[in-house]
Symmetry: C2
Subunit: 508 residues, 2 copies
């Protein structure tokens, strides 16, 4: 029974439907809503808010809200709200097609920010008070503690900073999640901060639940539907070749004595290629791996189940349907091997730097000097956002970017003269890997990097074009006084323009 | 007597001239050389190495070395070595005109990297062993501890990782420097790292000197000349207006309850504008300020002497001749108010994030979306390097970028459609300030930022050009499918190209 999950009896009188709870949401409000990479987002309230917006719009009234989440949610949250034109502001990350279209049409103001900055800015009061927090939970304990769902994200700060809290209790969640969360709410603000006491990637530093002022809870809504659960593609040949490159490199660093045989804690970005690298680690010559990541996906789960990985820390669990079943079946085995933290801890610069995390993320494109674009298609169109990639890239021990060398059947090169948007600069990016090969950029000047990236990473279809660009840029930059980083300023972004105009970066 | 500064008698037999000590430097070696923003660099050895290189070149022999410093040095170090064509690799930062020309001619491979990454990569062994460390020191104590000079930079790691050490003892340095350094050598490598115990900006966590294996010391060379000591320009009207903007903003944050009245620890980049902001703080309504910075310059020194600033932490002291005299005169007063740390601590992401440092750095240019270029002139020519600006920008509580709105008598706009090189991205930069005004970019989407930056920060001569660019970019990006960040891909860098061709970004 869902009601059994509200173990503090006094709170049971706050149970209502989403359509009733929507009374607390008014036009112009700022909402803090849980959700991180398709996990832990509310399943019912967004539709109720979307319907309220549609009703208002039908009457010619204004209705929209601002919404700050942990990261991306799902069609039943971002999707329905964007479709109802119920959002005027959205931060810090999204991946929903309908919301994306609203952003790219210029209808929704979207602040694409580092995830590690979110809770600090909420706490500091920069956004002002949040009117309502909507949080997904597994249960509320006897003493009124909130047990979060498959993701925590910014949930702690959402509850603390909102005037009112609406809790969605999701009966589809395994009750076994209780005990997996590690709620640490003491990061505070400067000048009163202490070291965050995570010294090993699996250190438990907090409590299982979040103590919450019961008076703040204005509604409890029951739901019974799983997280968005898209299936991963089976690793294709290209993903497998990328994974093999990464594993070869890590093995090389182990043999050179620069990495322990258990490597260092691994962060893995989302998506099929990252998942393929995790799958590749199943057969790699490393043992006792650890994870310190934002999102734990199928690949890392299988490493734990195969006992190749000892423990993993994340802020959200984002599984395919099959992996979710494996997770639920093995939850007792996994309980002391997976820890879920607030994203302020999972993405914290202090902890990432101390642990020496190996950050591995996918990219849209890299340029010949090692700058990376994670966010914009052809320079102007937002894809998803930077998410936590910058947190791990900037402060990790290694920063690895992976991508197939081409996209759209070869019409797009992932290696370009200049990236059309810069999210990670030449100073931050250490390794670029495609199915063609790997470029180790450490200790290299821009011109040395260009040679490596073109020779090792670019697709043969584009290699001569890149060399031609570089050679002409070198001559032109000599004339204009500096060849530290050769460029042709009017041609640097011409490949993207050609794609916009002809549908192909190649010259026909 | 210089010899008295070598207090461990057994070491005195290693005293020799630089021309004798240069026997330990061979072609192809990798050197770790102290020096940070014109402080703490060796005064004699570089010239001896340069002469050895010239002699070799005159005989038709090859001679060059790689050199990793803390940051920039001075003409007597980078300058003489570059002039003698004695460098083939240089990292992580420089500001010498002769060296810069060698880099921009493509003769010297220069890796421009975040200063917080340097010691970690040295320790990890990525560069291999360093053959020789050349370090400037104030003294060697009775028990063989090295007392560093006006700057530490990467000196601890230089000594630890080099096979041989040459110490330059500089008799021109105040003996009173002893006790000001705080040598902490326990950062280590993952997975064995502990929290760095700096909780307050002035916490002392180490020792005054660095214990050094006496067998490693192959030569002690005496010098008696001060650091490069360029004079600061008196703050001009534009710098004063920039300073006033920054101070107004900080005051506003204090009044809004988002900053304490003593602010948070201040980091200030180098240069006249940054120095003007420090000068402006002398009369600002804040008390008990603290500094947590890389380079302590005249402005911060005067804040301490005026008792507006309680304490300051830095890795180097870089003073004009007048300020150096004030420093030396007041060294007893200053001893418990200034602390010098290894740059791995001064620039450490963990500490900067915990303390909530207010980072304030100058820039070459910003674009209408808030990306900042700190390093390249017109996209291809290296100026100095990123230095520590990224360390403070990325992990600080506030990141502020300051610049006059134009340069070269108005021919260059510091606000452009797209920066010609990206060092700090839209995700990292929170505030842009020119003498025209300030843009607070927090919580803003790109299009909101563009309006703010153009309206508040750009020079009136360029404002209509920027609006025209933005308006046309919006229309074009609508056609190409995304107006999250409007751009005209073939025109984005055309202002820079126009300057290269005509000497003016304005259309004649």
């Amino acid at each position: 029974m869902s009601i059994d999950r509200v173990r503090q009896a006094a709170l049971r009188e706050k149970v209502m439907t989403a359509d009733e709870a929507v009374q607390f949401i008014q036009n112009g409000m700022m909402l803090a809503v849980t959700g991180f990479t398709g996990a832990g987002y509310p399943k019912a309230m967004p539709t109720a808010i979307a319907n309220k917006a549609k009703d208002a719009h039908a009457k010619g009234e204004k209705f929209s809200v601002g919404m700050v989440t942990g990261a991306s949610t799902a069609p039943e949250c971002d999707g329905v709200l964007a479709e109802a034109k119920a959002l005027h502001f959205r931060s810090p990350f999204q991946s929903d097609p309908t919301l994306r279209n609203g952003i790219n049409a210029g209808e929704i103001a979207y602040q694409d920010m580092h995830l590690s900055h979110v809770e600090q800015q909420m706490r500091q009061g920069f956004y002002g008070k949040f009117d309502v927090a909507i949080v997904e939970a597994t249960a509320i304990t006897e003493n009124g503690e909130l047990i979060f769902a498959m993701g925590i994200g910014h949930g702690v700060e959402a509850v603390k900073n909102a005037d009112k809290v609406i809790v969605e209790i999701n009966a589809a969640l395994s009750a076994g999640l209780e005990g997996m969360h590690d709620i640490y709410g003491d990061v505070g603000l400067p000048p009163h901060r202490k070291p965050i006491p995570v010294v090993g990637a699996f250190d438990r530093i907090g409590t299982a639940g979040l103590a919450i002022d019961p008076d703040k809870i204005v509604a409890i809504v029951f739901t019974n539907a799983g997280d968005r659960n898209s299936k991963f593609a089976e690793p294709d040949d290209i993903s497998k070749r990328i994974a093999a490159q990464v594993i070869d490199f890590l093995d090389h660093e182990v043999k050179a004595g620069r990495l322990p045989k258990s490597l260092l804690p691994l962060q893995s970005g989302v998506g099929n290629v990252a998942n393929a690298v995790m799958a590749g680690l199943l057969d790699a010559p490393f043992d006792d791996l650890t994870g310190y990541t934002e999102v734990l996906q199928d690949g890392m789960l299988d490493l734990i189940l195969a006992k190749k990985m000892k423990t993993a820390s994340a802020t959200a669990l984002s599984f395919s349907p099959d992996a979710l079943a494996r997770f639920n079946e093995n939850i007792e085995f996994l309980k002391d091997k997976i820890i879920l933290r607030p994203m302020e801890i999972s993405n914290n610069p202090e902890v990432i730097r101390r642990l020496g995390v190996i950050g591995m993320n996918s990219m849209i494109e890299a340029d010949i000097y090692g700058n990376v674009n994670s966010t914009h298609v052809m320079g102007t169109r937002m894809m998803n956002g930077i998410g936590g990639s910058g947190d791990f890239t900037r402060n990790g021990f290694f920063s690895i970017y992976v991508s197939p060398s081409t996209a759209k059947g070869g019409a797009i090169s992932a290696i370009v003269p200049m990236v059309s948007h810069h999210d990670h600069t030449e100073h931050d990016v250490m390794f670029i890997v495609t199915e063609q090969g790997m470029a180790d950029l450490r200790g290299k000047s821009p011109k040395e990097r260009a040679k490596l990236i073109i020779d090792n990473c670019s697709h043969p279809d584009y290699r001569d074009m890149l060399r031609d660009y570089y050679d002409r840029a070198f001559v032109a930059s000599q004339k204009s006084g500096g060849v530290h980083t050769p460029h042709l300023l009017l041609e640097a972004l011409s490949w993207h323009q050609r794609f916009v105009e002809t549908g192909d970066m190649r010259i026909k």
